[in-house]
């Protein structure tokens, strides 16, 4: 009770969002609430969610029916097209369930509307400021970039959401304010900012907390970059990352996501209480590299340049967007991926793929020797294409470098921006992009 009195002065963005979702004027940090869910997303692991959902309904005498089919989104991305009959059978089971329940936000394996869930949700206008967005994927934090409170949950938790339409027994999290000021130097990207932050906070530094991004470098950053920041907040253990919505959020939603109608825009209170404030001076940042085998093992690029790389990966829900493909194509155009190094590219969605095709980026990449694969999670989690050999090293724009992440526990993964990846593809060793931009 004491705690409640303390916090009611001003609320952080997510505190305010939860209060509004619960139809209340205020909530206190640590208070237990059961907010209704705005959007519930799953990918192939919907197969397990379905299993658990049917378990909940077992012997209840009720017909299994999801609470609201229009608030459920299912996107196939982890293994597309299916790499095994087992996956194909899981996907078939999900497809049947989607048809039976009338779920319309379903993105099957298609070259027009398919892609990675964390790109499909924003680009189709499924994510709105002020919404509670849950996903059975830890990188659901991505959608905080549009002012949603978005985070990952497990399959059984999602089955309960499908049944009841609300999240059960959650504590209102405290918030860490991260203020990023610029100007951001040439050759330094949102990926470098978030890698630096994860290194600074450590893999557990934001456990059970929300990271709220503020500062002039955030205000001037396009949504594509904010998606990168929020995507990787989970690597510091954060429940969610969020950028309070502004003119750029509205621009993205109207112009790129085709959203009409009113938007619920609000900001944190000026006297909000934060558990911690972290300031980052982006003007002093160099490109950053997360070294094996933890994402918080981050070093400025000078410390790792020259390291031999066997596979370069550009893509994923972190860095597979049009601006990533543009910078990679610009660096590689008319040049050649080094012998002894292979480069694979996974655009984040087919919309991005088509646009990159139209603009000639894919042509530039292919002519330089890169292999452009279909949009999907690809090698990021070692389940589908782009596996590593024993003792090999990958340099990737993805979000995790845990031991065995790319399918082989005796390989190594380094993480970087798309510019670093492309510059290193030219030389075959980790290279600073500021020399080739």
């Amino acid at each position: 009770m004491d705690r409640k009195q303390e916090t009611i002065m001003g609320m952080t963005y997510v505190q305010k969002l939860i209060a509004r979702a619960c139809g209340r004027s205020e909530v206190a940090v640590g208070e237990v609430v059961e907010p209704p869910v705005g959007l519930a997303m799953s990918h192939e692991n919907a197969a397990l969610v379905i299993n658990q959902f049917l378990e909940i309904y077992k012997e209840t005498g009720r017909e299994p029916k999801v609470w609201d089919p229009d608030r459920i989104a299912i996107i196939f991305d982890h293994r597309v097209p299916a790499e095994s009959s087992k996956t194909a059978t899981n996907q078939k089971k999900v497809r049947d369930f989607v048809a039976q329940q009338g779920i319309r936000k379903f993105h099957d394996i298609r070259g027009d509307v398919g892609g990675i869930c964390h790109q499909i949700l924003p680009e189709n206008g499924y994510v709105r400021p002020g919404a509670m967005v849950l996903g059975t994927d830890s990188h659901t934090t991505t959608h905080g970039a549009l002012g949603a409170f978005a985070f990952g949950i497990g399959a059984t938790e999602m089955a309960a959401v499908w049944t009841l339409g609300k999240l059960l027994n959650v504590e209102v999290p405290g918030t860490i304010k991260v203020v990023v000021n610029g100007p951001v130097p040439a050759g330094v990207y949102p990926k470098d900012i978030i890698l630096h932050l994860v290194g600074k906070l450590t893999a557990e530094g934001a456990n059970f907390k929300v990271i709220e991004f503020r500062g002039d470098a955030i205000r001037t950053m396009p949504t594509s970059g904010r998606l990168v920041l929020c995507n990787m907040t989970v690597e510091a253990g954060a429940t969610a990352g969020v950028v309070p919505p502004d003119e750029e959020t509205v621009r993205y939603l109207r112009e790129e996501a085709g959203v009409d109608g009113p938007l619920d825009l609000f900001g944190p209170d000026e006297d909000a209480i934060y558990e911690r404030v972290v300031e980052i001076d982006a003007s002093r940042l160099a490109p950053q590299i997360a070294c094996p085998h933890t994402v918080d093992n981050v070093k400025p690029i000078e410390e790792v340049t020259g390291k031999k790389v066997h596979q370069i990966v550009v893509g994923s829900c972190t860095n597979g967007r049009l601006d990533d493909l543009e910078v990679a194509a610009r660096i590689l155009k008319g040049k050649r991926v080094a012998d002894g190094t292979r480069m694979v590219v996974f655009p984040a969605s087919w919309r991005i793929y088509s646009e990159a095709l139209r603009l000639g980026y894919l042509q530039d990449l292919v002519q330089a020797g890169a292999v452009v694969c279909n949009p999907g999670c690809g090698p990021c989690l070692g389940v589908h294409q782009g596996a590593l050999g024993d003792g090999e090293t990958a340099l990737a724009t993805t979000n995790r470098n845990f031991k065995g992440r790319m399918g082989n526990p005796s390989s190594e993964v380094y993480l970087c921006s798309s510019a670093v990846a492309a510059a290193s593809a030219l030389s075959g060793v980790i290279s600073d992009p500021r020399g080739v931009l």
Partner: protein
């Protein structure tokens, strides 16, 4: 909980990729996931599969156990062997998944124990019977106690479903 042995001690920040590698994620059913528990730790994986680790045995870990992916297989595969996981603390999604599927887990920030030691949980303490020392347990989040008491999220959600008017 009865006295049992520490079967494995792991370090800090053990990820869900280490507990349940991504390449086995197409296997989802709790009845099928245990075979891939710690698949890249061949010694432990084989001991578990061979039935050499009695239910109730302890896996002890450092901080942030289960960080990374939301894959529930990481909790269900350990539950399949009846392991009890003691960590200095757990990553959020793994903690919730474990409560939801009914994996026995204990938060014990100061625990000192080694593989082969005998531990016992009694009176809010982890007792290391080999060294004779005891270490305080941090209670699991109160907000989730109702789910733990119900035996997991499936029975809990089922009860709420039945309470709702048809």
């Amino acid at each position: 909980m009865a006295k049992a042995t520490v079967v494995r001690k792991v370090g800090d920040d053990v990820s869900t990729d280490a507990i349940y590698p991504g390449r086995y994620m197409a296997t989802v059913l709790p009845s099928e996931t245990p075979q891939f528990a710690f698949a890249d730790d061949l010694d432990l994986n084989q001991k578990l599969k061979a039935g050499e680790v009695p239910a109730g045995s302890f896996l002890i870990a450092g901080k942030n156990f289960g960080c990374g992916s939301s894959r529930e297989q990481a909790a269900s595969c350990l539950k399949g062997y009846g392991l009890v996981v003691i960590a200095r603390h757990f990553a959020r999604i793994f903690l919730q998944n474990s409560i939801n599927v009914g994996l026995n887990m204990v938060i014990c920030p100061e625990l000192e124990a080694e593989e082969g030691h005998e531990l016992e949980i009694e009176g809010g303490q982890v007792w290391n019977r080999t060294t004779g020392r005891s270490f305080a347990i941090t209670p699991l989040p109160k907000a989730r106690q109702a789910i733990i008491d119900a035996g997991g999220l499936i029975p809990y959600a089922r009860r709420l479903l039945l309470e709702r008017s048809a």
